[in-house]
Symmetry: C3
């Protein structure tokens, strides 16, 4: 039940992130471009996860509340966009909380369907980052996960922590909370100290 | 039954639209590039809809007639492309009829599977426009739905009209015909008077 | 059973091809970009096929060995990339063997699910080439299948040969071997003699 409202909260956050990114680009500035980008950012990751898992119906197809949450996010963006663009650090924090929650929600869903553990890690990662990949592709930028900060790596780290804690039979709620905190700490620390992964020269 | 032939007619139209767009671009001018773009344009929207709805088998996978219709569209394009490019207005009319029919076919399919009403609107929209999005992405142009004319908005307007008429228990055929006419009128009027949606400045 | 190991071998090859392509591009040079591109190249085609066919669970979701094979391919790329880039001809041969095997594996899977014969040809083609399309899209290049050499055409030729041989009731193994050889011969001959498909001028 709590995870349902967490999920809707994440949907609003990602819809804002998508609509805001679109409103920055000339070609997507109209109401449709804004809404489409917000929509695709909010549900893209979870939709791809459910399609790969073959899990139907997909949440937003069966439940109007998701599309209402997205509409709320888009309206908030239009009204408050001037204020929102002035506080990039708050957006970073919200985005980080969003991907942390989504990673664990995605993993739990995959594990409940008895997928291979490594595939569950990828399903958690997809849930968290694929909406953003679709957003960045739509506005014609290199997806954030491929730019230098630790982003996907934080999700993968948290997902692996979750697997280990579950293996040692920690209660699910504790595993989830510890993993979510792991992702948030890794990501914010990486941003602060400008960590990045090693590069390979050919 | 009629809707089956309508559907195949739409497939031919969209295949022509895709093949014609590809033949305009240097890199996609060979037979394979032409055919692939025609194929993806014709079935892309419906395939995405069925994948999201989890509705299998997808029409063109189970029924050879779809691929035969696409082949016909591609052959027509190769033979008549010089004539076709001289009549952009006729193409606009056919494209508009195509997206109008596809919107309502997509909505009816979604509603028959008992999805949330707002999700059915999106399924109708996806059926109509996603083939074109794939086409424009393949030939490396900004998708038509994001350019300034009223395009997706016409489909959404017609889909909402359909929902309202259905709510008031109009017979399905009447609801469908009125909604299709709505889409065609909104789109063609918007093109004629160069209507566009409001833009948002950051 | 043999086809299982063939499949894993193909996964390693495609993972190397993806990781190598990513390491050539500045933006994807870090460990995550490399791994993601290798992963998407290796499983993209088969995943798309299974999603379109509605066939679940998808192999790499249910079976950890696929992700282990991809990891092996990525590690091999990192260790041996200098040597690998010096032998483009060997890579061409491996890639050709890979797409030949994948075409027939994809077709057999589709035909076992009783799809329309022409759709089975497309499913074979998708299995073989869509991983590469995803790879080239990620590294921002025109997909190889749209560049001038005979590439997809070789797969389609082999797939049609397979359909004909099956129609004449040849044993499956013979049909598979002859079709695979057809693809390899057509592709390598086309590369050697720089064959290409006819182009169409508007």
């Amino acid at each position: 039940m709590i995870s349902y409202y967490f999920n809707l909260f994440g949907v609003v956050m990602f819809a804002i992130s998508g609509a805001l990114a679109a409103s920055d680009k000339n070609m997507y500035k109209d109401l449709f471009g804004l809404s489409f980008t917000g929509f695709a950012t909010a549900v893209g990751g979870g939709t791809l996860r459910d399609i790969i898992l073959g899990s139907h119906p997909i949440a937003w197809v069966a439940d109007n509340n998701y599309l209402i949450a997205i509409t709320a996010g888009i309206i908030l963006t239009i009204i408050f966009k001037r204020q929102l663009t002035k506080i990039p650090k708050i957006l970073l924090v919200f985005d980080t909380i969003g991907i942390a929650i989504y990673t664990i929600i995605g993993m739990e869903k995959a594990l409940a369907l008895h997928v291979a553990p490594l595939a569950a890690v990828i399903m958690g990662l997809f849930t968290a980052v694929m909406g953003g990949v679709i957003r960045d592709t739509l506005i014609n930028e290199i997806p954030q996960i491929f730019r230098k900060e630790i982003y996907a790596t934080a999700c993968i780290a948290g997902a692996l922590v979750y697997l280990v804690l579950k293996y040692f039979s920690l209660p699910d709620l504790w595993s989830a909370v510890i993993s979510i905190i792991t992702i948030i700490v890794v990501r914010l620390t990486a941003v602060k100290f400008k960590w990045s992964l090693p590069k390979f020269e050919v």
